[in-house]
């Protein structure tokens, strides 16, 4: 097993570079786990926009009433009332609607003069239009009172409005035919993200080995050693498989440690299987990369471009729903696209019957199809290289 042992000596030398990817991945996974909000929704909940409410008028009953009403229907963001702070918050979508009540607003409103609240929003966005509707609704009703009930006091006005606005439409949330409302859990996020680290560490690891053993002088020397060609190849293959499975196992163990509650559900078993299938596909890609490249510089270049490309275009980094149609069309020829689709189907699984599972199996078969195709190409290329005598 001399070759098998050499395999892991080489991997050991690379371990620092490889572990960087694992560390980066882990820290991102943890970060996003804490940032990501688990919102599993079973009843209808109203969406809320992030609103900054700035009152330059004095604190009147009317402005307080409007503020209370908005507060019920939005998430209030506290911001300093200076242009830069507002701009920064708006750009990074920390706030989606800034309502600034000008000085003297209440007095003019109560006397029936035309007035308006200054709004700054990201134009054309749903959240902005939604908040606009809320404010206009409140003030339109208020204007009705002011106009038709002479000398109504602010207290009375707000009390009346409060009562009116309690009347609500009855919303029925019909269950999705597929089963339940879609959501992204932390564990799904973890598994969605894992192709990035898997591609990097497997491609870098395996191609390093391939580069060493494919070196022409070393190869010639090995060929005249008493190790048979079959044994030589089998040991290499065994090394590759062991290494890839080890990478996969590390990810699984880490996910079990990070998401103790979610991991021991039946869904996770399918995540694990799906990741294993992807690992096989990535291994086949690594073979191809390994016989195509000649230098270490090319190796990091290719592994980076491959991992970033596959992750950006197929929905690993950006959810598939947010990608353009053209991009998705390209994504379909990449295995990670099907991996993500499978993950999505898995996380929506509630009933584990064949009709639900068949779709997931179908996606996994596509991933395996990629593996077979890539291995075939690799074999052709390596045969050609052999014939050329290199």
């Amino acid at each position: 097993m001399i070759i098998f042992k050499t395999y892991f000596k080489i991997i050991k030398k690379q371990s620092l570079q490889l572990s960087i990817y694992v560390v980066v991945f882990l820290s991102l996974a943890i970060l996003f786990t804490y940032l990501g909000n688990d919102n599993s929704i079973e009843t209808f909940t109203q969406s809320k926009a992030k609103v900054a409410f700035i009152n330059e008028d004095s604190d009147t009953v009317l402005t307080q009433g409007l503020k209370d009403y908005l507060a019920d229907h939005s998430v209030f963001v506290e911001l300093d009332n200076n242009t830069e702070a507002l701009q920064d918050a708006l750009f990074f979508r920390e706030v989606e609607y800034i309502a600034k009540i000008p000085a003297g607003f209440t007095n003019e409103f109560m006397s029936g003069k035309p007035v308006a609240i200054d709004k700054t929003m990201i134009s054309g966005t749903v959240s902005g239009i939604y908040t606009d509707i809320l404010i206009n609704k409140y003030l339109n009703s208020a204007a009705l009172y002011v106009k038709n009930l002479k000398n109504i006091s602010q207290e009375e006005l707000v009390k009346n409005l409060k009562k009116d606005l309690e009347v609500e439409t009855d919303v029925k949330l019909l269950k999705n035919s597929k089963g339940k409302v879609e959501k992204t859990t932390s564990i799904e996020f973890y598994y969605n993200f894992s192709p990035y680290v898997l591609i990097n560490i497997i491609v870098l690891g395996v191609s390093s080995i391939m580069m060493v053993f494919n070196d022409i002088k070393l190869k010639r020397r090995n060929l005249c050693s008493p190790v048979s060609n079959t044994s030589y190849n089998m040991q290499l293959l065994l090394g590759n498989v062991t290494y890839s499975l080890a990478c996969w196992a590390i990810l699984i163990v880490l996910s079990a440690a990070l998401y103790r509650n979610d991991f021991f559900r039946l869904n996770s078993l399918y995540f694990v299987i799906n990741t294993l299938v992807l690992t096989i596909t990535i291994l086949s890609i690594s073979f191809l990369v390994g016989i195509l490249i000649k230098s270490r510089n090319a190796q990091t270049g290719i592994s980076n471009v491959l991992s970033l490309g596959m992750c950006f275009l197929t929905g690993v980094f950006v959810p598939q729903e947010l990608l353009g149609e053209n991009v998705l069309a390209i994504a379909k020829i990449l295995p990670t696209y099907w991996y993500i689709k499978a993950n999505k189907a898995i996380s929506n699984l509630t009933v584990f019957n064949w009709s639900n599972l068949s779709q997931i199996v179908y996606y996994m078969l596509i991933e395996l199809g990629f593996a077979i195709a890539i291995v075939s190409v690799t074999l052709v290329v390596s045969k050609r290289n052999q014939l050329k005598g290199s």
Partner: protein, 386 residues
């Protein structure tokens, strides 16, 4: 002599294929990926007119007010200065409506009655807006009854006219140069900043080639009768020239092919690129002189610190820059990558120059600091033997 060294350093850099890949090809590829992945991102927050269905039942046929209400919103909000269509309504039977909802043809269907009921498949902003619109109907109804209760003469005094009139009580006030700032531009800004700091490899290479204890070529160069500062300056200027050409290439690609918005201050955008490149190269030189580890370790330090700085500027997660700015502002000021990103951002979105000037000032400060440290470490270093 100076020109001779300069030209030869130029050739050396251009022929270093891995270096050109990482500083030119890789950013171009990454920009393309960013573009493909993010071009649809802002689309998702836009408001789209949604399709709904109204169940054609007896109550609906009886209530003219509700029919008018549907018509009014379906055609557009009949405000004085707004004609926003909020939905497109179809009047269909109950079964038809259920089928349409199941097939995702509509966002929801509404059944008129007391109370009005809205059937949807999921919670979301579209559904919430629908609910608000129909809430408005019932709520206005409640308002009218309430008014009539207290002032029965209101009907004669134009209450119905008032009802028809939907006044806009909000007035759009734009801050900054854009009414719809695009958050994804930040990714491209960090990408350019990253490229500037990848040019640090150029700086590092120049030091390796001039500092006698770092390479054999540098040792040989040190016995040549030429002033070390001259060699280094020629090398650094050659690096700067190449980096400027590369960054110009990248900028052209991002601005003209990918059509990313940089605002209208072309000259200042260019200035930011120049200062950014200078800062990146001097940072590489600085890293190279302050530690005596191998070249691999230096490259690793360079790349890891660049990527960390990029992460903190929002390259992997756009809101990161804001989080840092809000909670640890000092970190945003001492992070040169963030300074470059922020300079672009200020040019894109601000109508004032204070923030831009602070960024450029800080960046220039860093560049001078890196250069000075490099100079003082390197000068008068002589070796009896190496």
């Amino acid at each position: 002599m100076f020109l001779y060294i300069f030209c030869n350093r130029l050739k050396c850099i251009v022929r270093d294929k891995p270096l050109i890949f990482w500083t030119l090809i890789f950013p171009l590829i990454l920009a393309t990926f960013f573009y493909m992945a993010f071009s649809n991102l802002t689309e998702s927050e836009n408001f789209n007119v949604v399709n709904i269905a109204v169940v054609d039942n007896e109550q609906y046929q009886k209530s003219k007010e509700f029919r008018d209400f549907i018509e009014q919103h379906s055609e557009g909000l009949a405000g004085d200065n707004s004609s926003e269509q909020l939905f497109i309504a179809k009047v269909v039977s109950q079964e038809e409506a259920e089928k349409m909802l199941a097939n995702n043809e509509i966002v929801g269907y509404v059944t008129y009655g007391n109370p009005i009921s809205l059937s949807v498949k999921e919670s979301g902003f579209d559904q919430t807006i629908l609910k608000e619109i129909f809430d408005q109907y019932s709520q206005t109804e409640s308002t009218v009854y309430n008014i009539l209760d207290q002032n029965p003469t209101a009907l004669q005094n134009g209450l119905t006219d008032d009802l028809q009139r939907n006044t806009e009580f909000t007035r759009e006030v734009q801050i900054g140069t854009k009414d719809k700032p695009d958050i994804t531009v930040n990714y491209f800004y960090t990408l350019i900043a990253m490229t500037c700091f990848y040019f640090g490899c150029f700086g590092q290479k120049e030091i390796t080639n001039t500092q006698a204890n770092l390479s054999k070529r540098a040792a040989r160069l040190n016995v040549a009768p030429v002033h070390k500062l001259k060699v280094l300056t020629a090398g650094v200027l050659a690096s700067l020239l190449i980096s400027l050409i590369e960054v110009a290439f990248l900028m052209c690609y991002i601005i003209f092919v990918l059509k990313i918005d940089f605002g209208n201050q072309t000259a200042l955008v260019l200035l930011t690129c120049i200062v950014g490149c200078a800062c990146g190269i001097s940072f590489g030189a600085f890293i190279s002189v302050v530690n005596k580890k191998s070249e691999g370790v230096k490259t690793a330090i360079l790349i890891v610190s660049t990527m960390t700085a990029c992460f903190l500027s929002g390259m992997m997660f756009d809101k990161m820059k804001y989080i840092i700015q809000k909670n640890i502002p000092i970190l945003a000021y001492i992070n040169p990558v963030s300074l470059i990103t922020d300079a672009f951002y200020a040019l894109y979105y601000y109508d004032t120059y204070t923030r831009f000037l602070i960024n450029i000032g800080m960046l220039s400060g860093f560049t001078v600091l890196f250069c000075l440290v490099t100079y003082f470490v390197m000068r008068r270093q002589r070796y009896d033997y190496i």
